[in-house]
Amino acid sequence: MMDRDTRLQTRPASGLDSVSSFGVERRSLLKTSAMLTGVLLAQGAIGLLAPSLAWALEVKTIDQKQADTVLRLAKVLYPHEGLEDAVYALVVKAIDEQAADPATRQLVAAGVEALNAQAGGTWLTVSPDRQHDIVAALITDPFVQKVRATCITTLYNNDMAFAHFGYEGEAFSKGGYLHRGFNDLKWLPDPSLEASPAPYSA
C-alpha cells in the first residue's frame, strides 16, 4: 500500500491536501477566499488508497458561492455515481487557478450570474432536473464551456479517478503488463498461436 499512498500524494494533478493537522489549514487561511472540504468513503476505491479520509481544498481567487457552483456544475456535466467530491473539487481548483487571470475571473462571475438568472434565483438550490435543464440551455455559454473543457482535462487525469475507473496508469516502473495481466482475459477463447504467438521467453 505504501506505493499507492505515495502515488496519490505526489501526483501533481491530485492537488488536494489531506487534512492531517489544523496547522496546515490555519496557516493558509490568510490567503484563502473559500474552502471546500469533505470526507472520502472509507471503503471506496479512493478511500482505500488515501492516507487520510478528510480532504480540503483551499480556493484562492473565486468566492465560496462560485466555488460551490463550479463543483455542482462539474457534477451536472459529468455525473458519475460514486465518484467522490474530492475528484470534482479538482475542477474547482483548476478553475480557481485560471481565475488568477482577471478575464477568467470575470467569466466565472458572469457565468455564475447567468446560471442564477436562468434559475430565477440561485441555480444551486433548484432541483437537480432543473439544474440539468438550465445547463443544457446554457451549454454554449463560455463559462459553461470552460468548466466543461476543464472537466475533461482534470476530472479523468488524476490518481483518484484512475483508481475509481480502473485505469492503472504508469507501467514502466512495474515492468509493464507483460507479467501483470496484458492477456489475462478469460471470458473469450484464446486466439490461435498463429494469430497470437506465445510471449517470448529467453
Binding site: H80, E168, A171, S173, L185, P199
Partner: protein, 522 residues
C-alpha cells in the same frame, strides 16, 4: 558526432529527423555522405519519455500555432490542433504505434484502378510495388518488423482477444497481431516489448522502432552526421541559378542561423514540409519553392479514420499492452460493391483514461457520455485507417493572421471529407460494431477522427511536372537539389499506415542522391 561549419556548402541538409529524415540521414551517412540534420524539437530518450498522457503530450507533441478550416470535425473539436505529430528528435516515430504494412500494388495505381472520381484529384504514382518491394524488404529488416525476416509475431493482449473472437464470428479470415516494428524478442541491440501500453508516448523500453535510438545514433557513429536539435527551419534559400543553397533556421536561443547546403531534403511531416516550401517563396519562385505546378500544399490527405469503442459485461483492461495489438485486413481490398473505392484496415487501439475522455466524443457531456467512462475497464477499441481521396482544395496554406513564436505565418489546414471517405467510414463503423456485437457488446461508440497523425500528400510525386511537386525519387521537378523525403511525397494515401512506406522511400531516395552526388549531377 561530426561538426560542420555553417558555411560548409558540401553537406546535405535534412530538415526533420522522423521516419523519413532520420532514415535518410543514416542511409546517406553509411554511404559516406556528410549530413546536417535539423530537428525543431529537443532530444529525449527512452529514459525521459513519460508514461502519463498529458505530460507526455506536452513533452513531445508539435504544439506550435496552427489553424484549421473546412467541414471536418477536427476543425470544430480541435481548431488549433489539426494534427497529432511530434516535435522531438525522432519526430513522429516517437508517437507512432508501429504498424508496418506494405501497400498493395493497386494502391500505387489509384487513378487507373478507381477510375475518375468526381471531386478527387486522383493520380497514379510514378512508381509501383515492384519498384518499392526491394526497399520494403530493407525497411522491414532495418525496423525489425514482426512476421518478416523470421521475426515472430507479438503476443496479443486482451484488446486483441476481443477483436479476434469478434472477427472470427463475423467471418473475417485475416486477423492477427499483424506486422509491427516492435521487438517480439530482443533484436538489434534493443529489448523486447514489455507490454507497457504507452506506445503513443515514446517507448520507454525501446522495443518500438524509432529513429531516435536506431538510425540517428547509427548515423552519428559514422562520423558523418551532425544532428542539431532545437533547430527550427524557417526558410530554404536558393542561388541565382535557382538551386537550393542554404537553410535558415532558429537555434535553441532563438537566433537566426544559416547552414549552407549542397542538397536540401525536406522531411518535416506533410503540414510543415509544405509550409516550409511556401515560406521560402522568393522573387524567382513567388508561389513557394517547387510550386510551378500549383500543387504545393494541395491534395492533403489524412486517411479516412475513426474509432469504434464497445463496452462489455466483463473486464478487458484494453490499456494493458501494445496499443495496436492486432489487425483485421479483410476490408483492405478495392471492392466498389461496398459503395466506395479503396480499402481500410481495422486495428486495435487503446487510450489511457485521460485521453479516452478527451477523444471519445469531443464536446459531449451528460450521462450518455459518462456511462462510457464508467465502463472504461470493460471497453475494447479499434481504429479505422483507410484510403482517403486526394482533393485539390484540401490543403495547407499560410495563415494571414496567425503567426508562430518566431513570427512566421502559421499553417492553416483545410479539409473536407469526400463522399467516398464518408461512405468508407460509415462502412467501417458498421463492420467494427458487428465485430464487437458478435462477442456481446453492450454499447458501441462511433468515435470521430482524432487530430491527424498520418499527414500525407502535400508535395506529391507525379510523372509529369504539371501534376505534382516531385518525381519518382522525391526530387522536386523544379529544383534538382531539393528533395521531398517524408509522407508528403505520397501521390495517394493507400489504406495502410504510412511509416514503412516512408522509410522504404527514404532508403530508395538515399541510393538516388548518393548516385547523383557521385556523378556531380546535383
Amino acid at each position: 558526432m561530426a561538426q560542420f561549419a555553417h558555411d560548409d556548402d558540401s553537406v546535405v541538409v535534412i530538415v526533420g529527423s522522423g521516419a523519413g529524415g532520420g532514415a535518410l540521414a543514416n542511409e546517406l551517412c553509411q554511404k559516406g555522405v556528410k549530413v546536417v540534420l535539423l530537428e525543431a524539437g529537443a532530444r529525449q530518450s527512452s529514459a525521459t519519455f513519460i508514461n502519463d498522457e498529458w505530460p507526455s503530450f506536452n513533452q513531445i507533441a508539435w504544439l506550435d500555432a496552427r489553424t484549421t478550416s473546412g467541414s471536418w470535425r477536427v476543425a470544430r473539436d480541435f481548431p488549433t490542433l489539426p494534427a497529432w505529430t511530434c516535435k522531438t528528435v525522432g519526430g513522429t516515430t516517437a508517437h507512432w504505434a508501429g504498424a508496418s504494412l506494405r501497400f498493395h500494388d493497386y494502391e500505387f495505381k489509384a487513378r487507373t484502378t478507381y477510375g475518375a472520381i468526381a471531386g478527387a484529384n486522383l493520380l497514379d504514382w510514378p512508381i509501383g510495388l515492384d519498384d518499392l518491394a526491394p526497399y520494403y524488404a530493407k525497411a522491414e529488416d532495418k525496423m525489425g518488423v514482426t512476421r518478416t525476416n523470421g521475426i515472430a509475431g507479438l503476443p496479443g493482449n486482451n484488446n486483441f482477444k476481443v477483436m479476434y473472437n469478434g472477427a472470427a464470428k463475423v467471418g473475417y479470415q485475416e486477423c492477427s497481431t499483424g506486422r509491427m516494428a516492435i521487438n517480439s524478442a530482443p533484436r538489434a541491440g534493443r529489448g523486447r516489448c514489455m507490454q507497457l501500453g504507452f506506445c503513443f508516448q515514446g517507448c520507454k523500453s525501446g522495443a518500438k522502432w524509432s529513429t531516435l535510438y536506431t538510425e540517428i545514433p547509427a548515423a552519428e557513429a559514422t562520423g558523418n552526421l551532425e544532428l542539431r536539435a532545437n533547430a527550427h527551419a524557417a526558410q530554404i534559400e536558393h542561388d541565382a541559378r535557382g538551386r537550393a543553397s542554404a537553410v535558415v533556421y532558429f537555434d535553441a536561443q532563438g537566433q537566426k542561423q544559416r547552414q549552407k547546403a549542397k542538397v536540401v531534403c525536406v522531411a518535416c511531416n506533410s503540414i510543415e514540409s509544405a509550409r516550409l516550401l511556401l515560406l521560402s517563396a522568393s522573387g524567382q519562385f513567388p508561389h513557394g519553392l517547387a510550386n510551378s505546378s500549383g500543387q504545393l500544399g494541395r491534395n492533403y490527405m489524412r486517411h479516412t479514420t475513426g474509432s469504434v469503442y464497445a463496452t462489455f459485461d466483463e473486464p478487458v483492461h484494453f490499456y494493458r499492452g501494445t496499443v495496436m495489438a492486432g489487425i483485421i485486413r479483410d476490408e483492405a481490398v478495392n471492392n466498389p460493391k461496398r459503395g466506395f473505392v479503396g480499402g481500410y484496415e481495422l486495428e486495435t487501439i487503446s487510450l489511457g483514461l485521460p485521453f479516452y475522455a478527451a477523444f471519445l466524443d469531443p464536446g459531449a457531456w451528460g450521462s450518455s457520455f459518462t456511462s462510457f467512462m464508467d465502463d472504461y475497464a470493460r471497453t475494447a477499441g479499434m481504429w479505422i485507417v483507410g484510403e482517403d481521396m486526394p482533393q485539390e482544395t484540401n490543403r495547407v496554406t499560410l495563415s494571414e493572421t496567425v503567426k508562430d513564436q518566431f513570427g512566421l505565418p502559421a499553417p492553416n489546414v483545410h479539409y473536407d471529407d469526400h463522399a467516398n471517405d464518408i461512405a468508407m467510414r460509415n462502412h467501417a463503423y458498421k463492420q467494427g460494431e458487428a465485430v464487437y456485437a458478435a462477442v456481446g457488446a453492450r454499447k458501441v461508440m462511433h468515435t470521430p477522427p482524432y487530430p491527424s497523425t498520418h499527414n500525407l500528400g502535400t508535395c506529391r510525386m507525379s510523372a509529369k511536372p504539371g501534376d505534382g511537386v516531385c518525381n519518382a525519387w522525391g526530387q522536386t521537378h523544379d529544383i534538382p537539389n531539393l528533395f521531398i523525403s517524408d509522407g508528403s511525397q505520397f501521390t495517394t494515401g493507400a489504406g495502410e499506415n504510412p511509416t514503412l512506406t516512408i522509410v522504404a522511400l527514404a532508403i530508395r531516395q538515399s541510393d538516388f542522391i548518393a548516385d547523383q552526388l557521385s556523378r556531380r549531377n546535383i
